[in-house]
Amino acid sequence: MSGLRVLVGCKRVIDYAVKIRVKPDNTGVITEGVKHSMNPFDEIAVEEAVRMKEKKLASEIIAVSCGPTQCQETLRTAMAMGADKSIHVEVDAASYENLQPLHVAKILAKVAQDVKADIVFTGKQAIDDDCNQTGQMVAALLDWPQATFASKIEKANGDLTVTREIDGGLETIKVQLPAVLTADLRLNEPRYATLPNIMKAKKKKMEKKKPEDYGVDIGPRQSILKVEDPPVRQAGSKLDSVETLVSKLKDAGLVPS
């Protein structure tokens, strides 16, 4: 089953170490001038695809990202890690604010058909909206089997054996190709892009597309009413004895009095 073509979805998100700030008008979070990186779970997906290629399981890796121009940096990163080429589906900044997993899933499904992908690989979720929907929706739209939350992927004859992280343990399933995979945290630890590969990535091909090219309408299906900061944690206080602690706990009804 060599020669698989893997399409990897790479979302550009606010770097996970950044302290998120809500816009004063409560319409969203501040993204301007804020450090962005590739969604860490997508990075794990890219890494796995590259490893599949190194094991001669895959023959070509295509990275795809939907969003504003800056997504091209994310795609360059994917190519520096080892993706062969990339597709940037440009969505202007205003429309991007309302871009939902369903829109992205429709685009990915079309791209997958377009490039004749055998595997669509994404992170299990993006760390900005935490939706955890895109991979599953792509599978539904394409009517392909899905293996989500993958923590181990092995080939087995013409199929893939995937270990999934589920509540309370691990589940091992077999999926037939073509299939949709989503990566969980423990699947691998992504590599650092090396200098020679960063240089090579600059010469790799990046196709520029628009949602219309795939016939996908990205008109908003829902609207954001309000984005608010989580409630501020109440300050604690230091007590001088166990007795005071117990009486405080009793007052609060946390221990029976």
């Binding site: 935490d130 630890e189 650092y192």
Partner: protein, 526 residues
């Protein structure tokens, strides 16, 4: 950069779906918990190590003194020997005093009151911050009273326009940095001990660190100080002004005085704008000359955005990999270079960095390298360099040297020492701030060995002096290096220092036995 929450890797921990915790990896990369290798009480008392150093003619603390302290500092006088253990022993676990009392004032007035009392009673004092000093300067030698800045941790003001921060001396460096970051600023000082060191201690020791290349020394960024003098008088020079040429600039005297002239209680420091974008490259190269070549290339390509240029030799990389299980993203090379750029425009800066990297690769100055722009990855790369000091402690006893040398002699010293000590030490490792000509040279043995020490000192200091270097680049002299001051300073300079010390502290009660040598030579030498 690098003020990002440390990543705590949670082995087999449950996956909790919140953005901060879903990314915890099972692999152990960085362990922030400092494991004490040897218990403090097993460290030899300084008084038994330095047998030719007599205790000064100071009074001994009595019950009446304790009563007085308890009256002034209610509930903040510690006489418990277990609690004192930490404050009596240095971070490197090489020297240990036997102080019987620790005072934790909260205000300048309280410090002034207790210091005045000590002055009247002729009691010796050791001022202490986070106790992260590396030359035995922050712990008592005998039974000096420890005055800790631990509870003096209030931030007085921050002017977001000028970037001038005024705070108490006991503020922890990392906390201050987190605070000013809220206003888009950064503290112009950063070092490995940032999570525990106090700003007052940083100023008192004129700490250097990895940002010196970019922001210069504390002599430039500290604008004012409040200092309690050895007679208890308060010297208030806490001006929040950048320019103030009225008379002698007294604060400069206290920056780097290592607590021998007074206790710093308040600091005013100017904070530069926090860079919006940071990128780090880690390069591997084949010899030290290439490290220097890369430095030159970096200076020409990165000029205004270069914020750090550090090197590690391969034994240093082996050290952090072996003793702390850190993972290096590069294969093995004789030398590693860490270059950091930070600026206002990420895209623009990255472009410059890439051009520079292309140049060093094309010329063969670097054999391989990686670039990180994600905060987590940047943090991981810095961890390799910053944890060298911690990793060394795991070997047992650490002979620590911090010298400045002209760059052409920089690594020759390491090679000579490695050859000289090859059968006597576990390892000889060198890393440091190439950009500042500052070499950190370390040797380790499983426990302290006098014969090994005799091979190192004074040979190493003589070598440094012969090559126009400084025997202490950023760690200070403290107790351990004070007698080597003449290797870097002339007798007349040392003599003037002694005159200043006598004028400010005629009784010699403030951090005695530190900085100035046991024997002060006259102008014509002894």
């Amino acid at each position: 950069m690098r003020k990002f929450a440390s990543l705590v890797w949670n082995k087999d921990g449950p996956l909790i779906s919140s953005p901060s915790s879903i990314l915890k990896r099972p692999h152990s990369t960085f362990q922030p918990i400092v494991k004490t290798i040897r218990f403090s009480s097993t460290v030899t008392l300084t008084s038994s190590q330095f047998t030719n150093l007599p205790r000064g003619p100071y009074s001994v603390v009595n019950d009446q003194d304790i009563q007085f302290f308890k009256k002034v500092l209610q509930g903040r006088v510690t006489t418990d020997s277990n609690e004192l253990e930490f404050h009596n022993t240095d971070w490197l676990k090489t020297v240990r005093g036997s102080s019987k009392v620790l005072l934790r004032p909260k205000t300048t007035e309280e410090v002034s009151a207790v210091v005045k009392y000590c002055s009247d009673r002729h009691l010796a004092i050791t001022p202490q911050g986070g106790n992260t000093g590396l030359v035995g300067g922050s712990v008592p030698v005998f039974d000096e009273i420890i005055i800790s800045t631990q509870l003096m941790n209030e931030i007085n003001s921050l002017d977001p326009v000028s970037g001038i921060l005024v705070c108490q001396a006991g503020c922890i460096l990392e906390m201050l940095d987190n605070h000013v970051q809220e206003h888009g600023l950064t503290i112009p000082l950063d070092l490995g001990a940032k999570g525990s060191c106090h700003i007052g201690g940083n100023v008192a020791t004129n700490a250097g660190g990895i940002r010196l290349l970019r922001y210069g020394s504390l002599h430039g960024s500290v604008l004012g100080l409040t200092v309690v003098l050895p007679n208890g008088e308060v010297m208030d020079c806490l001006t929040p002004l950048r320019k103030d040429n009225t008379g002698y600039d007294l604060k400069q005297l206290f920056i780097g005085s290592e607590g021998t002239l007074g206790i710093i209680t308040g600091v005013s420091i100017v904070c530069p704008q926090k860079p919006n974008a940071v990128s780090v490259a880690l390069l591997g190269c084949e010899n030290f000359q290439k490290v220097l070549d890369i430095f030159v290339t970096c200076k020409s390509h990165l000029a205004e955005i270069m914020s750090a240029f550090e090197f590690m030799d391969s034994p240093s990389m082996e050290l952090v990999k072996g003793n702390l299980s850190l993972v290096s993203p590069l294969s093995e090379f004789p030398f590693y270079v860490l270059v950091e750029c930070s600026g206002s425009d990420g895209t623009h800066d990255e472009e410059k960095l890439m051009k520079m990297l292309q140049a060093v690769m094309n010329r063969g100055e670097a054999l391989d390298g990686i670039v990180a722009t994600d905060y987590a990855k940047i943090e991981n790369i810095w961890a390799l360099r910053e944890n060298c000091a911690l990793a060394l402690l795991k070997d047992g006893y650490n002979y620590k040297y911090d010298v400045s040398l002209p760059l052409q002699h920089f690594y020759t010293l390491v090679e000579e020492m490695r050859e000289r000590l090859k059968d006597h030490v576990i390892r000889t490792v060198a890393y440091g701030h190439v950009g500042d000509g500052n070499l950190h040279l370390n040797f380790t043995t499983s426990k302290y060995c006098a014969a090994t020490m005799a091979l190192i000192e004074p040979f190493l200091y003589n070598w440094v002096a012969r090559h126009d270097g400084s025997v202490s680049a950023e760690h200070g002299l403290g107790l351990k290096k004070r007698d080597f001051i003449y290797h870097s300073k002339t007798p007349s300079a040392v003599s003037l220092m002694a005159t200043i010390k006598k004028a400010i502290d005629p009784q010699g009660i403030m951090n005695p036995y530190k900085v100035l040598p046991q024997v002060i030579r006259g102008e014509d030498g002894i």
